[in-house]
């Protein structure tokens, strides 16, 4: 019973403060990492015969 109440409480709180700006920043950092890696190897590719 206590558990159910707890989860209900969590849910309302999530709704009250559902900012995802940290998530947006995180995935964009991830995206930039993918791009840097790819561009890095591509530069290696075009520098070699």
């Amino acid at each position: 019973m206590a558990k159910t109440e707890l989860s209900r409480k969590t849910k309302t709180e999530i709704k009250a403060s559902s900012s995802l700006k940290g998530t947006l920043a995180s995935v964009f950092l991830l995206g930039f990492f993918l791009i840097i890696t790819w561009v890095g190897v591509y530069l290696l590719f075009i520098s070699r015969f």
Binding site: T10, S19, G22, L44, F45
Partner: protein, 551 residues
């Protein structure tokens, strides 16, 4: 979502079936881990194998036992437990099906293992023809695959039963995900089963003299790429469904989780050519088409990354976190069930980046068959997937054996993951770096006749051995924890964490359960990507290749 069984424990009879899988899986971990340690030591140039044991024989053990046995047994055990937990206890018929699958897989494993130990099958786990192994090796691997189909049939039967009893309802998320992975596996393994049964087995038995190499390799890689997604999706199951519950948060979106799994089903298979980019006999336009399809399968992983970050942020903010990254501090950093898979998630960032490089058509020339590739899949499967499996074991094994994860074991689990991360940073990092310099994969120690380039590689190979040794300490710890949780941990109740969706009110669209549609599209995509190049490989085939035993 109404889920009558959400509070139930996995039935002890189903628990026994799942545990049987885990015993084989962790035995494989011990053997394969030892083989891996020996390989890195040999390749450092400071150590030689005793008693005439061959490097490539050990390498075959490592690949078969970890790449095929550990993964398949763990995944099947986990999916059976997850299905039993979320869709209800298996019927006797379903459970017997599972046991038949288990014993077939085990018999096949033993058969293949014996042939490897007799040095009759030193062909690595990819067994590329025309290297010819003993027929019993191929039969052993076939039994593993067929056993996994029968294991999977138990999951399909349970799903069908659930849908019959709950008309118009979306299936429980973990059951849905287990089912998607099982179906993808069955569609994919048709390729490897075909080349083994119709090409390699008759050829190794002497019924036919030669084999069509291009066709065999294409059938293998039709299976080979979905194989890696078969490893990854159970980790995604844990990330999407289990981790939110462990941290005390919610699944970000039930529907988007289902959508990403459907995308994996569709795009995991028609992409095998990105493993054959350097091969003759395949038109580059068809290679490029499959490169495009490979890039499409990145999309569900991009979605997954967002969902996971969002789950963490929502949870942290519900606990009063502020600022851009304040929520990170609110996560349960003392809980092995969270921390261990979390390290796996982090590892998937460089792993995914490397994967995009590998699949990039002509750019593959930089890395193809260099040890960069070995470094890559030791991040994907040997870190992201395996650490997630370890993190799952910490609650699933005690749940199934009626024991609990003690504080001491929890702490040891975190230490294990930290050791793993350090070891893998050394080993995989060195592999990536020296791979870019050109060092080949799957090769014993060699100075290549004193070539200056090969001399540059040796310090990196020493770093790999240091990493490999640290990783082996991690394996010993893991085996110790497994034995503790299976036999010695205190009796008690350990929760099987199944998350609830934040968007629970929003029912998942029923179209996700329309398998005629999804399997239909899967087949269409496969036919589109493979039919013409495959016919080319048959029509323009060179004379077949005779078998060789060069070890």
């Amino acid at each position: 979502m109404f889920n009558p069984s959400a509070k139930l424990k996995v039935d002890p009879r189903d628990a026994k079936l799942a545990m049987a899988h885990f015993f084989v899986a962790f035995t494989a971990l011990a053997i394969g881990g030892l083989a891996g340690l020996l390989q890195t030591l040999v390749r450092s140039g400071k150590f030689e194998l005793p008693a005439g044991i061959g490097y490539y024989q050990i390498l075959t053990v490592h690949g078969v036992v970890l790449g095929l046995v550990l993964t398949t047994f763990f995944i099947m055990g986990f999916q059976l437990a997850a299905t039993s937990k979320t869709s209800g206890t298996f019927t006797n018929k379903q459970r017997i099906t599972g046991w038949i699958g288990f014993w077939l897989m085990t018999a096949g494993t033993v058969l293949a293992a014996v042939m490897i130990l007799l040095n009759e099958a030193t062909v690595l786990y990819t067994f590329y023809a025309p290297l010819q192994a003993h027929a019993l090796y191929y039969i052993g691997l076939t039994l593993v695959i067929v056993g996994s189909w029968i294991d999977g049939a138990a999951i399909i039967m349970k799903y069908a039963e659930w849908r019959r009893k709950n008309p118009g309802q979306p299936s429980p998320l973990l059951t849905f995900m287990s089912l998607v992975n099982t179906m993808m596996w069955i569609v994919a393994t048709i390729g490897v089963a075909s080349t083994v049964l119709f090409q390699l087995l008759p050829w190794s038995l002497g019924f036919v003299e030669t084999v069509n190499i291009g066709v065999s390799r294409t059938l293998f890689w039709y299976f080979g790429h979905p194989l890696v997604y078969f490893w990854l999706l159970p980790a995604y199951m844990a990330w999407y469904v289990v981790i939110p519950k462990v941290i005390g948060g919610k699944i970000f979106s039930d529907s988007l989780a289902r959508l990403s799994f459907i995308l994996f089903l569709l795009f995991s298979i028609p992409v095998g050519f990105h493993h054959q980019l350097m091969e003759p006999g395949i038109d580059p336009a068809w290679k490029f088409l499959q490169v495009i399809l490979t890039f499409l399968v990145v999309i569900p992983s991009l979605m997954t990354a967002f969902s996971l970050f969002a789950t963490f942020e929502n949870f942290g903010r519900s606990k009063g976190a502020t600022g851009l990254f304040g929520w990170v501090k609110k996560l349960p950093w003392g809980d092995a069930r969270f921390v261990v898979p979390f390290i796996g998630m982090v590892a998937f960032i460089p792993a995914g980046a490397g994967g995009i490089v590998n699949a990039s058509h002509q750019m593959n020339q930089v890395v193809h068959n260099t040890i960069w590739v070995t470094g890559h899949f030791h991040l994907t499967v040997a870190t992201s997937v395996v650490l997630t499996f370890f993190g799952v074991s910490y609650w699933l094994i005690p749940h199934l054996t009626g024991r609990t994860l003690t504080k001491a074991m929890n702490k040891l689990g975190i230490i294990q993951a930290v050791i793993w991360s350090i070891g893998m940073t050394f080993m995989s990092g060195a592999m990536h770096a020296v791979g870019l310099l050109g060092a080949p994969r799957r090769s014993s120690y060699s100075e290549y006749g004193g070539a200056p380039q090969a001399a540059e590689w040796i310090p990196y190979q020493v770093a790999q051995a240091i990493g490999g040794s640290i990783l082996f300490i991690g394996i010993i710890l893991m085996i110790y924890i497994f034995i503790n949780l299976a036999f010695f941990a205190p009796k008690g109740e350990q929760e099987f964490p199944v998350g609830e969706a934040a968007d629970e009110a929003e029912k998942a669209p029923m179209v996700f359960e329309n398998w005629k549609l999804w399997l239909g599209i899967t087949v269409v995509l496969i036919l589109f990507a493979y039919t013409i190049p495959f016919i080319d490989l048959i029509q323009n085939a060179p004379p077949g290749a005779k078998g060789y035993k060069l070890w």
